[in-house]
Amino acid sequence: MAQNRSVPVSLFFTCLADAFFPRVGFATAAVLERFGAEVRVPLSQTCCGQPAFNSGNRREARKMARKFLKAFAGDGYIVTPSGSCAAMVKNEYPALFRDEPAMLSLASLAGERTYELSQFLVDVLGVTDPRSSFRGKVTYHDSCHLRRGLGVFEAPRKLLRSIPGVTLVEMEESDRCCGFGGVFSIKYPHISCRMVDDKIERILATGAQFVTSGDIGCLMNIGGMISRSGYPVKPVHLAEILAGDVEVPL
């Protein structure tokens, strides 16, 4: 296991974790600190602007992107427990600022420093075993932006497989979209629900107790349908599995 002395990491906890699942933020910080990262949390951060960008509202997206870049100015890594937010910064910020050369270079630099959590643990910190106490039969959903946007699909599996208490089972079409798509889920709820039903069918077929993913949006969608329907499977964020037992103040 690599010894990482005080690797500076700025935690980009995401607006969804902030408002709905603070424990994801704490789990992320805990895992990073476990492997020697020095975690700072820029408290002026708000939102990467994804909901606005994906729905074509680039003016508002730019506003939020500017604020993000200001909040995370500097050196050191930017790590987030959200594949879609990391993809937004890395892949889409250049599109947002294609007509503003100064902002464009700022955005490109920030993008290079930005990582999704499992990607960072494996590729940068060289973690092979997250040393988690989590126990259970788990199936992993490849969120679209993490898998296709960032090309990350081995890292989460490597980490999950190495946890002694975890049995990892693959669902069929693990990278099939769950139907969240941000605003899509309320613009086309009937299609969104059909897609999440299809996803849940594949999850249930694995017999897993837990479904996990690197994106809160996906888990809210899958979890929301599971909860309404009463299915015997629990959504849990990848960061929480990697962290294991973590103290969350409430």
Partner: protein
């Protein structure tokens, strides 16, 4: 065909409620995808071919004037009459005039999306020409009076019993729902048409600029029938169908047939150049090619040029979870799935096509399978941005986004709001979930639970835990 894409929301709801349709789409897309996956796995050169195919198509578009001019010159040198049509109406006019001048009463037609786009059949019918669809799927939907629902499988939405009833009612054939017998009936009925028709009408999969050739790719053989037996051959093709040369054909074919049906090559590929020569025992004496613009030069000019690279393989339809859920008819026009969601707003107007551009989660599966590497998700995002720029968005959405950005503008405002909502939700939502949400957001909670906001946001809890002074 008149676009009904602006009704996508309602049409997709109907499609989801139609269980027979659901089963049919599922079967078709599953089969195509499985076959494609096998074919790609068996062809180690596939990724390299994608790069090459993308390059060829890009090169064609970047110098389309040169290549199209060359095609016209070469085709005419071999005896074709080449017409150009600015739009669909003009193309139909030309087609009707050609049919009249050539004295055509009966025409057999192969599958052509462009012909659907411009409403060719209706125009020819009005001009007194009987047009018989010769592709089996098209023949079936023609009898039923419906539009096709998939690029490759026009009648994918119909069960065999329905086809059997159709043949009984419209053709007077004794009822049989055994598929080989149904195919046999169509073979017999259409053979007679092929042998007596005055004109064969086809689209073009490719137009080779350096030889002036028209290339047709089929499995059934109706394209060959219609281009060897009748006296006249009429081709209608979009200007973007051109490829620089015959030498570019093999790699594009390798991509097209594997991406579409998983075959290394389709049963029939015809390279047609010019008209019958005196020593030829059969073949058309007259070849008319109508090159149709209908908005394509407009697309060529702008940021969406690469959508014209499309070789109509249908792979993006098959892999799209939205298409898999609702099928082709819901899209309301000729082109469906991801490529249709980009092309429809560009050809039929953004106001008409915007619902299609918005009906995607941007999952990226389409871009992964596109044989010529069209950046479909990027284009969908651009179209949504265009929608906002052109003032076509729902004002409620714009208002909501402005409010969202305002709240996200200051961490202090955000935190105050989060703490406020956190307190309220503890009162309103028991068990940590919100069974209802206000305004449009009820679209979520109609069928799904939504988590109750945390009593305190992460940023506040972090400060507390780490002893950070606010």
């Amino acid at each position: 065909m008149e676009p009904l894409s602006r009704f996508f929301h309602r049409r997709s709801e109907k499609a989801l409620a139609d269980t027979a349709l659901q089963a049919a789409i599922s079967r078709a897309t599953g089969k195509f995808l499985g076959a494609r996956a096998d074919a790609v796995a068996a062809f180690p050169g596939f990724e390299a071919a994608r790069d090459e195919g993308s390059r060829i198509r890009r090169e064609t578009l970047d110098r389309l004037d040169f290549h199209l001019a060359r095609f016209i010159a070469e085709a005419e040198r071999r005896g074709a009459v080449v017409h150009v049509a600015r739009d669909g109406a003009e193309a139909c006019e030309i087609a009707a005039r050609v049919a009249k001048e050539e004295g055509v009463a009966l025409a057999v037609k192969s599958k052509s999306m462009l012909a659907e786009e411009i409403g060719l059949n209706e125009a020819l019918k009005s001009a007194g020409v009987d047009v018989v669809e010769a592709d089996l799927g098209e023949y079936i939907v023609q009898l039923a009076g419906e539009p096709p629902s998939h690029i490759l499988a026009p009648a994918v939405h119909m069960a065999r019993e329905r086809v059997a009833r159709l043949f009984e009612e419209k053709l007077g054939e004794p009822y049989t729902d055994r598929i080989p017998e149904l195919v046999g009936i169509a073979r017999r009925r259409l053979r007679e048409k092929f042998l007596t028709a005055g004109m064969g009408i086809t689209g073009a999969n490719f137009l080779c600029a350096d030889t002036g050739s028209v290339v047709l790719v089929t499995n059934e053989g109706n394209g060959r029938m219609g281009t060897i037996l009748p006296r006249v051959h009429l081709v209608v093709a979009g200007i973007e169908k051109v490829i620089p040369g015959l030498a570019d054909l093999p790699v594009l074919l390798r991509l097209l047939t594997r991406s579409a049906t998983g075959q290394p090559i389709s049963t029939y590929v015809s390279v047609l150049t010019g008209v019958k020569r005196p020593e030829d025992p059969e073949g058309p004496e007259r070849l008319h090619v109508i090159l149709v613009d209908n908005g394509r030069t407009g697309i060529l000019q702008g940021k969406y040029r690469d959508i014209l690279k499309c070789i109509r393989c249908g792979a993006c339809l098959n892999v799209c979870p939205v298409y898999q859920s609702v099928g082709g008819h819901a899209y309301g026009w000729v082109y469906s799935g991801p490529m249709g969601s980009v092309l429809t707003p560009l050809l039929a107007g953004l106001a008409e096509g915007a619902p299609l551009a918005n009906a995607s989660t941007l999952c990226g599966a389409c871009a992964e399978v596109c044989p010529v590497k069209i950046p479909l998700p990027e284009f969908l995002l651009e179209l949504r941005a265009d929608e906002r720029e052109q003032g076509l968005k729902d004002p409620a959405e714009v208002f909501g986004m402005k409010g969202y950005a305002a709240v996200m503008g200051r961490a202090g405002i955000l935190e105050a709001l989060e703490r406020f909502i956190g307190v309220i939700s503890q009162v309103l939502f028991k068990e940590g979930k919100a069974p209802w949400l206000p305004f449009r957001f009820s679209a979520w909670t109609d069928r799904r639970d939504f988590p109750a906001p945390s009593p305190q946001p992460f940023r506040k809890l972090w400060k507390k835990q780490r002893g950070i002074r606010p």
